[in-house]
Amino acid sequence: MTAQPFLEIRNLTVELPTDSGPIKVLDDISLAIRRGTTMGVVGESGCGKSMTALAIMRLLPPGFKITSGQILLDGEDITDVPDARMRELRGNEISMIFQEPMTSLNPVFTVGEQIAEAVRQHQGLDTGKAEQRAIEMLKAVQIPGAEARLNSYPHEFSGGMRQRVMIAMALACQPRLIIADEPTTALDVTVQAQIFALMRELQQETGTAIMLITHDLGAVAEMADDVAVFYAGWRIESGPAAEILRRPSHPYTSGLMSCTPRLRLGASAAEGGAALREIAGMVPQLGKMPVGCRFAPRCTRADGYCRTNVPKDVIVGPQHTAMCWKAEEEALA
């Protein structure tokens, strides 16, 4: 990679202290997002993908602490900048879209007030200009009758419309990175398609980078340039999305691929589809992590060595890395 990435996470570890010692909820995570591109972050619930987003935004829940590693935003180490600086960065440089558009909007303020608040806070616009900006943003996210809808309350919008409002708020200060945490999971497929189309269009216009957190490999295929796969607090594979979806290196990634049901249309629908492969067992509990590879207990390829030795993140292809002893063997072979 030649250009410096816009966001770079280096060896980030986040711990939660407990009575029985600290639990690493993120363990030595590294990833980089290039300017104007989309990074898909995939994994099951509890794998640490949302925790990474919260660490970047400095919104970790009480008790959780970054214990090592760095978060670099455009070269600036933001891991422990003062709160005042962090507040400048939030909104202006990075903003976030959450999964639940209903709970992340304030029900007692109109959507216009909420979008305007963001630009007044972060960009110091006066009330009139802020309202103008709110109208522009509602138009940008294709809400019909933007001027009139400015005075509507969140409950007067449908789920898809609310998510558009969230996107409008996130984009209002023209951030260079948007973190979208499962932005379409609560929405219908047809509305999801609209939101994805909108995000791509806005990305092309504004050149913002997107970190798309999702559990859906289909969403990664649709949206992402690069992908990082998380498992139990580890980032177990990363690289170009097209490459990883075609030739996954880590057995967990290929497991996820094979347990996703595929829609078969036209001629292929007449044949009975193959049975879905399963990944046996389940994600290990925090604080009860296996000693060696954390995926070993569920892995069909694991051997004694995997169960006792923590795998290293090795290069398995161009810009493609995986944390797997077997993938390393294959890369060397």
Binding site: T190, G218, A221, L245, L265, E278, V283
Partner: protein, 336 residues
């Protein structure tokens, strides 16, 4: 009803009165507005559609959890839409339900074994002494350990909780299970486990399912017959093979166009014709075709005259004036 049918739903309507309308009269939500279908014994009938289409209301109407406005529901020879009180309880054991959210559908204060035997206690099925044994058998049937019966719901993961809900639904030895989005709240890896479990239980016990989902790929994996629902009505209904091979309704096409796949090229959706807008309000459904306002093919006729479900052979029915004449937007469907 023929001997092979387990469930028969005739002209089912479920309307909800939600208060006074602004111009006088009442505001009525037409949640389900006249649907007919039958479920063959041992098969799975899928209902797909967007949120608000009424698919969950059908599930609740079959289960008698919401009042039925009009129409009838037969489970074998029992007209369950007309039963009340004890006579409804007498057949209750034959049809059970699995809900979407395994977190809110288990009582946090009841241990797993007690939760699973509760239907047996309530419906007074079998000897009281034997019920713990039945509950434990059900735990093993869904792939959990017998000993897991002593744990509380919070001690299980999401996937295990959904297994508990399935075990509870199985306890009364039902013939029909209504599954309302049973895997939507689960991670993909766990979703695959639960889908395979449902298929295996069906093969082992000859169960019939009404399977409600918004995910076409999941429906294709589980179901033998499928109905596509829009704003309280079926717009297309067919054997699954026929539907996925040659869907004919523009709304079905738009659901198919919006589906994501890990194999898709980046930006596939952007190249497809996507559905704009959102469904109109079910309180005042439009007079003609309910999909007309969002349909790229709609004409004045569609806006004025309501299309009925018409047969296209092999049990494939479509409610569209122009079905069979329109060009499908997806290349896979054109070839078929």
């Amino acid at each position: 009803m023929s001997g092979t049918d387990i469930l028969r739903v005739n002209a089912l309507k479920v309307h909800f009165d939600v208060g006074r309308a602004p111009g006088g009269g009442r505001k009525i939500v037409h949640a389900v507005d006249g649907v007919d279908f039958t479920v063959r014994r041992g098969s799975s009938f899928g209902i797909v559609g967007e949120s608000g289409s009424g698919k969950s209301t059908i599930a609740q109407a079959i289960m008698r959890l919401v009042p039925i406005t009009d129409g009838s529901v037969y489970l074998q020879e029992h007209q369950i839409s007309g039963l009340e009180g004890q006579s409804l309880r007498d057949v209750r054991g034959k049809f059970q339900m699995v809900f979407q959210d395994p977190f809110s559908s288990l009582n946090p204060r009841k241990k797993a074994r007690a939760a699973i035997r509760e239907p047996l206690d309530l419906l007074d099925i079998g000897e009281a002494r034997g019920r713990d044994g039945v509950a434990e058998d059900m735990l093993t049937a869904v792939g959990l350990h017998r000993e897991a019966g002593r744990l509380f719901p919070h001690q299980f993961s999401g996937g295990q909780r959904q297994r508990l809900c399935i075990a509870r639904a199985l306890a009364s030895r039902p013939e029909l299970i209504v599954c309302d989005e049973p895997v939507s709240a689960l991670d993909v890896a766990i979703q695959a486990q639960i889908l395979n479990l449902l298929r295996q239980l069906q093969a082992d016990m000859g169960l019939s399912y009404v399977f409600i989902s918004h995910d076409l790929a999941v429906v294709q994996y589980i179901c033998d017959d499928v109905a596509v629902m829009y704003l309280g009505e079926f717009v297309e209904t067919a054997p699954a093979k026929s539907l996925f091979a040659s869907a004919k309704h523009p709304y079905t096409w738009s659901l198919m166009s919006a589906a994501l796949s890990p194999e898709n090229e980046r930006g596939t959706l952007a190249k497809r014709p996507l559905l704009g807008g959102e469904p109109p309000s079910p309180t005042a459904p439009p007079p003609g075709c309910r999909f007309a306002a969002r349909c790229p093919f709609a004409t004045d006729r569609c806006r004025a005259e309501k299309p009925a479900l018409r047969g296209f052979g092999g049990g494939h029915k479509v409610a569209c004036h122009y079905a069979g004449e329109l060009e499908p937007p997806l290349p896979e469907l054109k070839a078929a």
